[in-house]
C-alpha cells in the first residue's frame, strides 16, 4: 500500500523525535522538511530540508499532509502561526500517534497533535489541536488539554484537570486532580 506523503515544518530537535514516531507508526512517508532558507539542502535523520515556509503554497500542489514540528518551550507563537498558515493553505494536519503510546478508545485527540512514544491518554480525556503530548507524558481520565499545548516529557495531567489553550507543562511536573492549569508550568513542579 502506498503511504501518503507528509511535510514536516521545523527541523530542530523535536522534529527528530517526531520523525522517529512517524517511522514507527509507518502510515506516512516523510517527503521533506521545511525550515529557514539557510538550512535548505541539509538533512535531519536522513531527510532533506527541501524549502523554507515561503514555498508552502507552491508545495501544496504536490503534498496534502503537513505537520508542525517546531518545538515549544518559551513560546507557542510560532507553532500557532504555522498551524494557521498550513490550515489556510488547505493542508490536512493528521494526528500522529506512536504505536508505543496508548490512547484509550474513550479518549479523543484533534488534528495536528502528536502523541509521542510511551505517552498515554486515558479514558474520557480530550486533547485539542496542534498539541505535543511528549514522550512518557500522561493525560489521565477526564482531563482536557486545549489547543496548542505542550505537555513535556514525563509530565502528568491528573484526572479531571483542564489545561487551558496554549499552556506549556514542564518535564516531569504533575498536577492535583480537577484543577485548571494555565500558562507556564515549570519542569518538576506541582500545579495546584
Amino acid at each position: 500500500m502506498k503511504k501518503d506523503r507528509i511535510l514536516l515544518i521545523g527541523g530542530g530537535g523535536h522534529c527528530k523525535s517526531v520523525i522517529d514516531v512517524i517511522e514507527q507508526e509507518n502510515k506516512f512517508e516523510i517527503a521533506g522538511i521545511i525550515d529557514v532558507a539557510e538550512k535548505i539542502g541539509t538533512k535531519v535523520l536522513g531527510y532533506k530540508v527541501i524549502a523554507s515556509d515561503d514555498a508552502l503554497e507552491q508545495l501544496f500542489k504536490d503534498y496534502k499532509y503537513a505537520l508542525v514540528t517546531v518545538g515549544q518551550i518559551r513560546s507557542n507563537t510560532l507553532r500557532i502561526k504555522l498551524f494557521d498558515k498550513l490550515k489556510s493553505i488547505g493542508f490536512t494536519l493528521p494526528t500522529i500517534q506512536s504505536p508505543l503510546a496508548y490512547v484509550s478508545s474513550h479518549a479523543s485527540v484533534a488534528e495536528g497533535s502528536v502523541i509521542m512514544h510511551h505517552a498515554l491518554i486515558n479514558a474520557d480525556a480530550k486533547v485539542g489541536k496542534n498539541c505535543i503530548i511528549n514522550t512518557k507524558a500522561l493525560v489521565e481520565h477526564d482531563a482536557q488539554v486545549e489547543d496548542h499545548c505542550h505537555i513535556s516529557t514525563g509530565a502528568i495531567i491528573n484526572g479531571g484537570v483542564v489545561v487551558k489553550e496554549g499552556t506549556f507543562v514542564g518535564s516531569q511536573s504533575t498536577t492535583k486532580e480537577y484543577r485548571e492549569i494555565n500558562g507556564f508550568i515549570k519542569a518538576g513542579s506541582i500545579a495546584k
Copy 2:
C-alpha cells in the same frame, strides 16, 4: 469463551480508568456499576449504575466477582469498608492487570488489587490486597506494598522500600531505597 461477569463498586473517575483496563484485559464482562442510590440508571463509559451497595447481598446470587473502584486520595476508609463487605458476602475479588502493564514473574499481587496501564512491578516485589497501582507507577525490585495502598500516577517505589498498610503515595513522588513509608506522601515529593 464466555467471560466471567464482574461488578464495579464506585462509579467515579477512577472507575473509568479501571473500566479501560478491564476492557483491554478482556477477561471480565462488566455487569454493572454500584454507586449511591441517586446515580442508579446513569451510565459510566456506557455501563449502567444498576444498584446501590445495599443490594450487594442480593446481587451475589447472580454475580460472583466484584472490585472496589472507588478512588483513594484523602482517605482509604471507604475502600477498606467496601473490600471487607464484599469479602464477607463471599465475592471473589480478582487481581486486574492491564496488558500494557508489566508484572515480573518473580513478583506477586494479591486479591482485589489493580495494576493500571503502563505500571510496572519488578522482580521480588510484593503488592498486597485492595491496592491501586496507578497509571505509570513503578514498584521496584524487592519493594513491598502492603494492603489498601494507593500508589498514584507515575509514583516510584524504589528498591526494597516497604509501604505500610493504607498508605497513599502521591503522583510523581519518589522514594529513597530500602526505606519504610507510612501515611500520606505528597505529590511530587521525595520520601526519605
Copy 3:
C-alpha cells in the same frame, strides 16, 4: 537455538532487576552469579552464586560473556573496577536491552550497558559503556550519556543534554534541555 551463557558480577538488588530483563530478552542463559566469597552457594532469583571475582580469570575458560550487575548510588568506583577487570581478562560485555524498552534505530548504546524495562532512548541519543539506564528512565533526542553513568528509575535526560562520565542521576529527577550534567543529581531534583 542454543543461548550464549553469561556471568553476572554482583548479586544484590540491581542484579534481580537485570535478571528479569535478561529472562525477558531471552538471548542469554545466566550461568551464575559472582559475589563475595561468603555468598557462594546462595541463590538470587534461583541462580546460584558460583564464585567470587578472584575466580574470573579461571571462569573465562568456560564463559565468554559477562556483565557488571553491581548497583551504583553512592559511588561508581566498583562498577568501573569490575568493568575494567572483565575487559582486561577478555570477556565480551554485551548490551542488554529489555524487550519492554525502546531504543530508537537512530540511537546507539555501547558495550556493557543495560536498558531496563520501560526505559526509552530516543532519536540521535548516545549511551556510553557500562551504564545503567534504569526502569522507566528516558534519554531524549540528541542527548548523550557518557560511560559509567547510572540514570535511575524514572529519571529524564531531556533533549541535547550531555551527562558527563560517571554521573549518577537520581530517581524521578529531570533536566533542562541542552545542559551539561556532572556528578551527583539528587532524586526528584531538576538539573539546570
